[in-house]
Structure formats: structure tokens, C-alpha cells
Amino acid sequence: MSCEGYRDKLIDALASGESSPAGDILAHLRACGECKKFYESQVHLFGTIDSGVRAMVNETVPVSLLPRLRARVADADVLIGVWRIYLKPLAATTAIALLLCVFLVRRENAPARLAVVPTVESPTSKTAESIPTREITASVNGVRRAMPGKPPIVHHPNSVRITEPGERLQVVVGREEAQGLVMLARNISQHPELGQALLQPAAMTEDLVPASQAIKIEDLAVLPLTTQE
């Protein structure tokens, strides 16, 4: 092995904390003066590093460390005590009051309840599918509310639906319209001919057709197309 190889081995031995070289390294050091000098310099270097690191950490602990810490621990205890005795119940009460306020405010601003008209038999129920549906509501902070100034009527897309022939028709309307629709439904149920009459298209009579005069065009010249580009 070359001197370089022995020196690497020496450094590894010193770095791992071995106190003195042994075996072939020791034999080489006895034979090679250069490596012996190198070894001594490395022993000195590692020794200085160790003493330097020890000096870094083994500083005298200030006498104020523990008394100051005890004072801070006592302060922390007082704070915990105050929290447990006063602030915790206060915080709990405030939280409950806030929740109650939020609940009341939301209840005040809740949209009007929907009235559901009793279902009616409809002989021409298929036509109901063509009734357009729309929604007169606005979403405020994720809560659906009736728009201000407009009646709180909600026409849900499923409010008019037919699934089976002869199934009852269900119409969802606003509270104000419910009364009138109930009466209408009752009348139609009692007088089926009224329903038929309502659904039949009105016959166009002669006098309803608006009279229009024939259009007269004078001085009209018809010219052939030119091939200009």
C-alpha cells in the first residue's frame, strides 16, 4: 500500500476516535518518517477540533436561566388558571349566544314556504310536459332566497311531471296562487266540460281576422344581374 493509502486509513482511524494506530499502520509509521509527521499533525488537528467543539458547548450556564424560567412557568400557570376559571365559560357563553343569533337571523331571512296544490286528475295531462318551468330565486351566500320585489314563487323543474298514464299531476306554486288554484282545480273536478273547454283552442272567426289591403307597387323596373366583381 502507498503512503497515500496509509494516510487515508490514519484519518479514518482518528475520525472514528481510535486512540492509537495498530497493525500494519503502526508498522508503516515506524518505517516512514513523512507519514509519522503527518500522523502527528493529524492527531493535533483532531485534538484541537475536539477541544474547540467542547469549548463551544460547555459554556457556563447563566445563573438567571432557571429563576427566569420558573417565573415564566408561574405566569403561564396563572394564565391557564384565568382561562379555566373565567375565560372558558365566557367563551362558551359567547359562542352559544352567537350561534343563537345566527340561527334567528337565518330564520328571519328564510324564503317563504312553498304551497303545494292538491293533485288533480288531468285528462290531457301530456300537455303539461310542455309547460315551461323557471325559478324566481336568487342565491345569496349559498342560501336560496326569493328575489326582493318579486313574489316568492318557485317553479321546480320537477313540479310538473308525468311518469305514468293516468298518474296525478302535481303543481308547485307560491302561497298567494295556491288558493285560486285550489278553487280552479275543484271546479274542474266537478265540471269536466269546463276543463275541456279551457284546453280546446279557440275557433278563429271571420271577423277576428284583421283586414289588410293589397300592396300596390308602381314604377318597378326589373334589371338583369351584371357580372361585375
Binding site: I11, D12, L14, A15, S16, G17, Q42, L45, F46, T48, I49, D50, S51, G52, V53, R54, A55, M56, V57, N58, E59, T60, V61, P62, S64, L65, L66, R68, L69, R70, R72, V73, A76, D77
Partner: protein, 188 residues
């Protein structure tokens, strides 16, 4: 209504008096640990900061944090390990903020930390070498640096360091080996 405080599985403390005795017992246990762990936290912080006032602040912060979490850190080895790690990390944070502040205040200058009140060992080593050693230490990876600092603290064996950090003895030795080797390479 009686107030019940659950402290351990299967054990319930009844009423404020027993809770208070539990709290005072924890306080007493913490006080017992302080005598040993206070200096340890200070020395770890000092090893990073090399400034007694800053190291004292960091040690106090770390110990106060330990006090707040004492309920789950009662086992002595676990407590010491936790404290050492938290003190080391807080000291590093403090050191970085000091460096940033110094850079802001004096841009372009090479700044050094100096220990307050040099010990007999520091006087023995030349101040120039000490400054180079400090710079070389700062460049070491954190895990190497921590093992090196802990193993240099008086009264702690490698076994204790291994227990504190929760790593095997072989890992402690290998980290120490690489740390010393890297320092020697930088200082040669």
C-alpha cells in the same frame, strides 16, 4: 353535576381537588427535570449560537414549550430527546434570523459570531482557529452537527446521545465519524 377529568385510559380524576393534585404533581416532576435539562438545553443552543444571551432565551423558550407539553413527555429519555431537538431547531432558527439581520444591516461584510466570555479551552486554541472551526461547523449537515454537539457536552456518553435522539448507537458513531472527518478536511 360532577365534573370528571380523564387523564389516562381507565383512570378518571374526580373533582377539582384531585385535578389540582395532578397538576401540582406534574409541576413537581417538571421542576425535578429542570436541574438536569435546563443546562442541557442551554448548551445545545449555545453550541449553535455561541452567544450566551441568545442561548439563554432559546433555552427558556424550549423549556417553556416542554412545560406546556409535559403531559405527553413525562418519560425521562423522551423528554430529554424532545427538548434537545426543539432547542437545537429553535437555536438554528434564531441563528438564521440573526444572520439575515446582520446581512441587512451590513451588506457584503463577512460576519462572525463570537462567544461571550471565553473559557480556558478557548483561550488555549487560537481565536483564528476557533473562528474557522465555527464556520466549518455551520457548514455541517444538521444531523451531524447535532450529534457532534451532544457528544461534546460533558457528562453525556454516546449511549445517552443515542437514547436522546432515538437512533441506534451505530448511527451515532457513523454520524460522529463523518462530522469529525468533514471538519478535519475543512480545517486542514
Amino acid at each position: 353535576m360532577r365534573e370528571l377529568v380523564l387523564t389516562q385510559p381507565g383512570r378518571v380524576l374526580e373533582g377539582p381537588s384531585e385535578r389540582e393534585s395532578e397538576s401540582s404533581r406534574a409541576h413537581r416532576e417538571f421542576e425535578e427535570r429542570l436541574a438536569e435539562c435546563g443546562p442541557l438545553a442551554f448548551r445545545v443552543a449555545y453550541g449553535v449560537l455561541r452567544n450566551a444571551a441568545d442561548a439563554e432565551d432559546v433555552a427558556q423558550e424550549a423549556l417553556l414549550k416542554a412545560y406546556r407539553n409535559f403531559g405527553r413527555l413525562r418519560e425521562p429519555t423522551r423528554f430529554r430527546g424532545w427538548l434537545v431537538r426543539i432547542a437545537f431547531r429553535m437555536a438554528l432558527d434564531r441563528w438564521r434570523s440573526v444572520k439575515r439581520r446582520e446581512k441587512r444591516e451590513a451588506p457584503g461584510e463577512e460576519l462572525e459570531h463570537r462567544a461571550i466570555g471565553p473559557s480556558a479551552e478557548e483561550l488555549a486554541a487560537s481565536s483564528e482557529f476557533q473562528a474557522r472551526l465555527e464556520r466549518a461547523m455551520e457548514e455541517l449537515p444538521e444531523k451531524f452537527r447535532m450529534v457532534l454537539l451532544l457528544s461534546a457536552i460533558q457528562g453525556y456518553t454516546l449511549e445517552e446521545v443515542s437514547g436522546m435522539l432515538g437512533i441506534p448507537m451505530g448511527t451515532v458513531k457513523s454520524r460522529l465519524f463523518f462530522a469529525r472527518k468533514q471538519l478535519a478536511e475543512k480545517l486542514r
